[in-house]
C-alpha cells in the first residue's frame, strides 16, 4: 500500500515551504498562466528564452504542496536546457508520475521525489500543472490559462 510519506517526502515539503525560483521575471520572453479551477491551484510561469535556450525560469502563484514543489523543481530542472530538452523532460516526467509502479523508470534525478504521485491518481493534475504550463509557454500556444483538470 502506498504511504503518505512516499508522497509528502521531506524534499517536497521543503520546496513547498521555500519554493525555488518563486519570483517574477521582469522582461520575461514568455509568460503563461496555469489554473486548475476545481482545486483552485493557480500559477504564472515566467521564462527567459535566448534563441532556443531557457536562460531563466520562475513562477508565482498559490497551490497545494504538490503543485508548488513540482513548479519549484521544474524551474530548477529546465534552466539552461533547450526547448526540445525541456519538452523531452516533460514526457519523461509525465511517464514517471502516471506509470504503473512496477515499470522501470529512467533516473529523473531530483524530479524523482515526485514519483510517489503515481500512487495518488487524484494528485497527478497537481504535479503536472506547472509542466503543462511550461509546454504552452514555449509553444506560445495560447493566451488562455492552461489546466490539467
Amino acid at each position: 500500500m502506498s504511504e503518505l510519506s512516499d508522497l509528502y517526502q521531506e524534499v517536497i515539503l521543503d520546496h513547498n515551504r521555500r519554493p525555488h525560483n518563486f519570483r517574477v521575471i521582469d522582461g520575461a520572453t514568455a509568460k503563461q498562466e496555469g489554473y486548475n479551477p476545481l482545486c483552485g491551484d493557480r500559477l504564472t510561469l515566467y521564462l527567459t528564452l535566448e534563441g532556443d535556450v531557457i536562460k531563466d525560469a520562475a513562477f508565482q502563484g498559490q497551490g497545494c504542496a504538490i503543485s508548488k514543489a513540482s513548479a519549484s523543481l521544474m524551474t530548477d530542472a529546465i534552466k539552461g536546457k533547450s526547448v526540445e530538452e525541456a519538452r523531452d523532460l516533460f514526457e519523461h516526467f509525465h511517464a514517471m508520475i502516471t506509470a504503473d509502479t512496477d515499470t522501470q523508470q529512467e533516473d529523473m534525478g531530483k524530479l524523482s521525489v515526485l514519483a510517489g504521485v503515481r500512487e495518488f491518481p487524484t494528485r497527478i493534475k497537481c504535479a503536472s500543472l506547472a509542466w503543462h504550463t511550461m509546454k504552452a509557454a514555449v509553444a506560445h500556444e495560447t493566451d488562455a490559462p492552461v489546466s490539467t483538470e
Binding site: 509528502y8 515539503l13 497551490g63 497545494c64 504542496a65 504538490i66 497537481c126
Partner: protein, 415 residues
C-alpha cells in the same frame, strides 16, 4: 417490489446508519468516515434495491406500451412524481417536472421561461452564494436576451446582504434565482421573505433547493415560490434525476425545453401539438431506474422524523464547529446564524488539497476545492476550503475522527 420500512417514531441513529450499506466500507484499510454528503449523499438499501428491482421486474419504457412491464414502469415513474409532490407539498403532481437534476432544472427554467419572457433592460437577481449551476445558465440567457444580472453580496459571516437585496429589486427585476442553502458555506437563506419581496416588484423566483432537500422540510405553497429545483442524489436517491416544481400557470405558459418523444400530443410536418404539463418538458426516455430509486428515497425520508433528524444533524454540526475551532491555525469560513450541514474551513500551513489526501488515507472523505462556488472563494480571498458536510447518518464519532485526522495533517506539514 416495494420494501416495507417500519415507521420510526424518533430518530434512531444506529438504525439509520445500518440502513446505509456503504457506511461499513473500509477505505485504505480504515472504516469509512463519510463527510461529503453536500457533494452527494449515500444511498440506503431500500433505494439500491428499488433500482435493482426495477431492472429485474419492471424494465420497459414508460407511457408507451400496453404490456404489464410498461404498466409497472409507468407506475413507478408516475408514483415517484406523486411522492415528490407530497415531499414538496405541491398541490398538483402535474406541477412536478422530472429532470436530470438541479442543473437541468435551472437550465430548463432559464431557457424556457427566461428566453421567452426576458428582454433587453430586464434584470435577473442572483447572489454571491450561488453554485455555478445557478449562475451560468442565467449568464447564458442574459446574453441571449440582453437582460442584465445583478448580484446580492454577502457579509463576513456568509449571509446575504438583505438591505442590498431590497435595493436591487425594482420593476426591472424579472427573475430572482437564489439558493435555499449554500453548498459552500451551509448558510440558510431567508427565502420566504425574499420571495415575498420579489413578488412585490412583479418578479418570479427560482429557489435552488439542492442543499436544502436532504435537511429541511420544504413547502412550496408556504414559500409561495414560482420554481423550486432539487436533485435526487443529494437526498439519498440515485444520480441523474431530480425535480423542477413550477407554478402551474407559469409552466403552462412556457414553451417546451427540448423536443422529442413523449413531449408531444401529435406530430405532423405541418403542425406539432405539445403534450400537457409536465410531459411537454420531459422529452425522450428518462432515467426510469433512477426515478424509481428517487421514489424509494422519498419513501425513506417519509419514515424518518425529519425534525428529530435535523436536531441530530444540528447537534453534530455544532459539535464539529466547536471541536474544529479548537484546533490551532483553523479559520472557519461561513459562520451564518442559520446554517445546516456544512463546515468549511482552512488549516494554516496546509493547502486544502493536501489535507484532503491525508484525510483520505485515514478513511475520511471530505471535499476540498472551490465547491463550484468560485465567487464565494473570491469574496473571502481564498483559493479553496476543506469542506466537511453532513448527512443524517453522521455522528459525533465521525467528527472525532476528522479532528484526529486534521492533527495528522498538521503533523505531516509540521504546523
Amino acid at each position: 417490489m416495494s420494501t416495507s420500512i417500519a415507521v420510526a417514531q424518533t430518530f434512531d441513529i444506529a438504525r439509520v446508519r445500518a440502513d446505509f450499506p456503504i457506511l461499513s466500507e473500509m477505505v485504505h484499510g480504515k472504516p469509512l468516515v463519510y463527510l461529503d454528503s453536500a457533494n452527494t449523499s449515500q444511498k440506503p438499501l431500500s433505494v439500491i434495491k428499488a433500482t435493482d428491482d426495477y431492472y429485474r421486474h419492471a424494465n420497459s419504457n414508460i407511457h408507451r406500451a400496453t404490456h404489464l412491464l410498461s404498466e409497472r414502469a409507468t407506475g413507478l415513474y408516475e408514483g415517484a412524481r406523486k411522492k415528490a409532490a407530497t415531499f414538496l407539498n405541491a398541490a398538483d403532481p402535474h406541477t412536478i417536472v422530472l429532470t436530470k437534476g438541479t442543473t437541468d432544472g435551472i437550465n430548463l427554467v432559464a431557457q424556457s421561461y427566461g428566453r421567452t419572457f426576458l428582454k433587453a433592460g430586464d434584470e435577473i437577481v442572483l447572489s454571491w452564494l450561488e453554485h455555478h449551476s445557478n449562475i451560468v445558465p442565467w449568464q447564458i440567457v442574459a446574453e441571449q436576451t440582453g437582460a442584465a444580472i445583478q448580484v446580492v453580496s454577502i457579509n463576513d459571516a456568509g449571509e446575504l446582504d438583505q438591505d442590498e437585496y431590497a435595493r436591487l429589486l425594482s420593476p426591472r427585476t424579472r427573475i430572482v434565482a437564489v439558493g435555499h442553502v449554500s453548498n459552500a458555506l451551509g448558510t440558510i437563506n431567508p427565502i420566504k421573505a425574499m420571495i415575498a419581496q420579489a413578488h412585490a416588484v412583479g418578479a418570479v423566483v427560482l429557489v435552488d433547493g439542492a442543499q436544502a432537500a436532504p435537511h429541511l422540510v420544504i413547502d412550496v405553497q408556504d414559500l409561495d415560490c414560482d420554481f423550486y429545483v432539487l436533485s435526487s442524489h443529494k437526498m439519498f436517491g440515485p444520480t441523474g434525476t431530480g425535480v423542477l416544481y413550477g407554478r402551474k400557470t407559469l409552466l403552462e405558459a412556457m414553451p417546451p425545453y427540448q423536443g422529442g418523444g413523449d413531449m408531444i400530443a401529435s406530430v405532423t410536418f405541418e403542425k406539432t401539438l405539445y403534450n400537457q404539463i409536465p410531459y411537454k418538458f420531459e422529452a425522450g426516455t428518462p432515467n426510469i431506474a433512477g426515478v424509481a430509486g428517487f421514489g424509494a428515497a422519498i419513501d425513506y425520508l417519509s419514515t424518518i422524523d425529519r425534525q428529530a433528524a435535523l436536531a441530530h444533524e444540528d447537534d453534530v454540526l455544532e459539535y464539529a464547529t466547536a471541536r474544529i475551532r479548537e484546533i490551532p491555525g483553523v479559520r472557519i469560513i461561513g459562520e451564518a446564524r442559520h446554517k445546516t450541514g456544512v463546515l468549511s474551513f482552512l488549516l494554516e500551513g496546509a493547502h486544502p488539497h493536501d489535507a484532503g489526501t491525508i484525510l483520505d488515507k485515514q478513511g475520511i472523505a471530505v471535499r476540498t476545492g472551490q465547491h463550484c462556488a468560485q465567487p464565494v472563494m473570491d469574496k473571502f480571498c481564498i483559493p479553496a476550503t476543506i469542506r466537511a458536510s453532513l448527512g443524517i447518518y453522521n455522528t459525533r464519532e465521525d467528527i472525532n475522527a476528522l479532528v484526529k485526522g486534521l492533527f495528522k495533517v498538521k503533523e505531516v506539514f509540521g504546523v
